[in-house]
């Protein structure tokens, strides 16, 4: 048995890194044994979701969820698959995998990824520019759209330049980071944003810069368990988008 056959379980659960997944899909194309096992796992687990005991959804969930959904632009064809960040790109791929493996279609062509990523970053930058322009107003003024408000904004120092703002939008706080003059990355490397409290780093979004060295990321702080005040923000260069703690050098940072 090929060594890669042992990755089937992690592939089925979408847990391989992008590179591993690419390699595994290559292997899957030529390994009948894995194809059979993959089909078998898919078939045998088909009924399992129905084993979930019914639970009553919380009150008001439908309104909250649909409001969140319709707040998202249903983008046109050109932007359709644009991932908002590196992590999103991974998710998109997993969903493609969820639609089941077929020999003729897999692996999906990834050519769209680069221009789409650039488009996503451009949109993201445009959004940040808007935020930054709004900052010039007196701090208590609510923006003309009546919802966003900058709670805090800092300039990060180090190699390159970056601004980080915490923006309040309705009841949720979003971290917006906009960076320039960043060094290019290689392979699966990403720039990872960290929020630090009492020496402990929390992941707060990752991004890759475009060819001009401009990068940006927005991150909903509601995703973080720690909702208190943060001590520090830092950006480090990481080998890929999965680091649980900073492994690479911190290139930019600031006190909060």
């Amino acid at each position: 048995m090929h060594e890669q056959c042992d990755q089937l379980i992690d592939y089925f659960n979408g847990l391989l890194s992008e590179e591993e997944e690419r390699e595994f899909e290559k292997h899957l194309k030529s390994c009948e044994n894995c194809q059979e096992e993959w089909a078998e796992l898919t078939e045998l687990t088909e009924d399992l979701p129905y084993a979930a005991e019914p639970v009553e959804p919380p009150e008001g969930m439908k309104d909250r969820v649909l409001a969140g959904v319709f707040a998202e632009e249903q983008s046109d064809q050109a932007e359709k698959e644009a991932p908002a960040s590196f992590e999103k790109a991974k998710e998109t791929k997993r969903e493609a995998q969820a639609s089941s493996y077929t020999q003729s279609e897999s692996p999906k062509p990834k050519r769209w990824l680069a221009p789409a990523l650039a488009a996503a970053l451009f949109l993201s930058l445009a959004g940040n520019l808007y935020t930054i322009l709004q900052e010039e107003e007196p701090p208590d003024t609510i923006t003309t759209d009546g919802i966003d408000q900058v709670l805090q904004s800092v300039q990060l120092e180090g190699t390159g330049s970056a601004t980080a703002s915490i923006v309040e939008q309705k009841d949720t706080n979003t971290l917006v980071v906009n960076a320039n003059q960043l060094a290019n990355l290689e392979g699966e490397q990403v720039y990872q944003v960290w929020l630090i409290k009492e020496g402990k780093p929390y992941r707060a979004g990752s991004f890759v810069p475009n060819q001009n060295g401009d990068g940006a990321v927005t991150y909903s702080l509601d995703k973080l368990q720690n909702q208190g005040k943060w001590d520090q923000i830092a950006i480090s260069k990481e080998p890929d988008a999965t680091s649980k703690e900073p492994q690479g050098e911190v290139i930019l940072s600031s006190k909060l």
């Binding site: 096992e37 639970v55 439908k62």
Partner: protein
């Protein structure tokens, strides 16, 4: 029934909010219950719902009717989303044990999906027939989405035997399912 799903899905692609709402209503409880079983926490399960329907609406995930039923597809999007969200929380040292909510559990009501109503009871009954070890490995693999390595250490197995044990457990489950179906359902024994 599934044709209706496909019609609604095609309308969603055209930007029809009403169609998305109809799909939401139809699948809300099943997907929420499934996500809750994976995450064990109601805020996270709601976050999963939000993500799943954003993916459907923005077409970050796209359904291809030639590859199977809409319900299977949206359930698998939900499973991947749950696994992702749980792992992201774990990155922040979130402990599942501490915050596991206990929600009132009930049987599906008359308005719930017929499929769920028919199958749920049978599948749960079949799961009960499994040994504790087999039940555990299915929970960890399918609902919790752990890695092979995590499953190995959690079940005291060598890495190489995990896949075989999972397949064995699933095949046993399949056998119990067909036994129950042959007997004409739960409660006829």
């Amino acid at each position: 029934m599934s044709d209706r799903d496909l019609d609604l899905y095609n309308q969603v692609l055209e930007g029809d909010k009403g169609a998305l709402e109809e799909l939401y209503d139809k699948y809300e409880k099943l997907l929420y219950s499934f996500a809750y079983k994976s995450c064990g926490q109601k805020e996270m399960a709601e976050e999963v719902m939000q993500e799943v329907f954003i993916k459907v609406w923005t077409q970050k995930a796209t359904y291809d009717s030639s590859k199977g039923k809409f319900s299977s597809w949206i359930l698998s999007v939900t499973r991947f989303t749950s696994i992702d969200i749980v792992r992201k929380k774990e990155n922040q040292n979130y402990s599942l044990e501490e915050e596991r909510d206990t929600l009132h559990q009930e049987e599906p009501s008359a308005e719930d999906l017929a499929e769920w109503k028919e199958q749920g009871e049978i599948v749960r009954e079949a799961v009960k027939q499994l040994s504790e070890e087999q039940n555990k490995i299915i929970q960890l693999f399918y609902f919790k989405g752990l890695t092979q390595r995590e499953i190995a250490s959690s079940c005291n197995l060598s890495l190489g035997t995990v896949k075989g044990r999972i397949r064995l457990a699933l095949k046993h489950l399949r056998k119990e399912l067909s036994n129950i179906k042959e007997k004409g359902g739960v409660g006829d024994a």
